[in-house]
């Protein structure tokens, strides 16, 4: 965890995290944290970064979902794929 840079900045695209995050919002993530259920996290999926909220943690597996329930399904990723927790929106 400490090998990561402590903070990262991202620009949000698309709408599945509305109303918490909107298209065009920018966020600061804190990367030196252990994520927990309820945290909004940025994670790597293939070659892109995605942002969702953690709904369940089972061992190394993390289940995430967008807040916009009408337009999001639950997907999973590994804990190691998580870049950081969203701590500030600007």
């Amino acid at each position: 965890m400490l090998l990561k840079f402590p903070f990262s900045r991202f620009e949000i695209h698309d709408r599945s995290m509305e109303p918490f995050l909107h298209d065009g919002n920018r966020v600061l993530t804190l990367n030196w944290v252990l994520p927990k259920t309820g945290d909004v996290v940025v994670f790597k999926k293939g070659a892109i970064y995605m942002v969702k909220r953690i709904v369940k943690l089972v061992g190394n597996k993390v289940w995430v979902r967008g807040d916009n329930r009408l337009s999001s399904k639950k997907v999973s990723c590994n804990k190691n794929d998580i870049v950081g927790k969203v701590v500030f929106k600007y």
Partner: protein, 166 residues
């Protein structure tokens, strides 16, 4: 803090994190990307065909107005192509698909670049090449679902074809 972050953003652009909508769940279709590619081609044709009626102010206003409208639609649909292709590539394409279609990443990269190029120029050849790339992407997509495809006449004013599963 807000000001510091915004200044930092100007110096070092933040990465993009996608919070995309994925309705309907698990249902992907490259059809909209193909329609958008035909729209880009059509707008390019219309821009090339546009003529200034005269140097009179009213005619020049009409000309500029029409160019603006056509260009706006061309740009929006070029971005739509990128959006649709990115969603399928980022959400649907799996490692087993990459094993069989090793050129997917290059194809997607080229589509992104070509769609951006289209926005910057009125280039018929580039618009036709973009359509060909999107059609190839559609063929690969359907092949990953075990579906053969055929090209059919679109019925659009572009007189081009659409890739459909059979």
């Amino acid at each position: 803090m807000f000001k510091i972050l915004r200044i930092l953003d100007r110096l070092f652009k933040p990465s993009v994190a996608y919070a995309h909508c994925d309705i309907p769940c698990g249902i992907y279709d490259p059809h909209e990307a193909q329609m958008a590619a035909h729209t880009v081609l059509r707008m390019t044709n219309m821009l090339n065909e546009l003529e200034l009626a005269s140097e009179e102010v009213e005619d020049r206003k009409k000309f500029v107005h029409q160019v603006s409208r056509l260009q706006k639609v061309k740009e929006e649909h070029a971005e739509l192509i990128k959006h649709q292709v990115r969603i399928i590539w980022g959400d649907y394409i799996k490692p087993e698909h990459l094993e069989k279609h090793k050129d997917i990443h290059d194809l997607v990269f080229n589509i992104m670049k070509q769609a951006s190029k289209i926005r910057q120029n009125v280039d018929l050849k580039a618009a036709e090449e973009l359509l060909t790339m999107v059609q190839k992407f559609a063929e690969i997509f359907w092949e990953t679902k075990g579906r053969e495809t055929k090209k059919v006449k679109s019925g659009y004013p572009t007189e081009g074809e659409i890739v459909l599963p059979i």
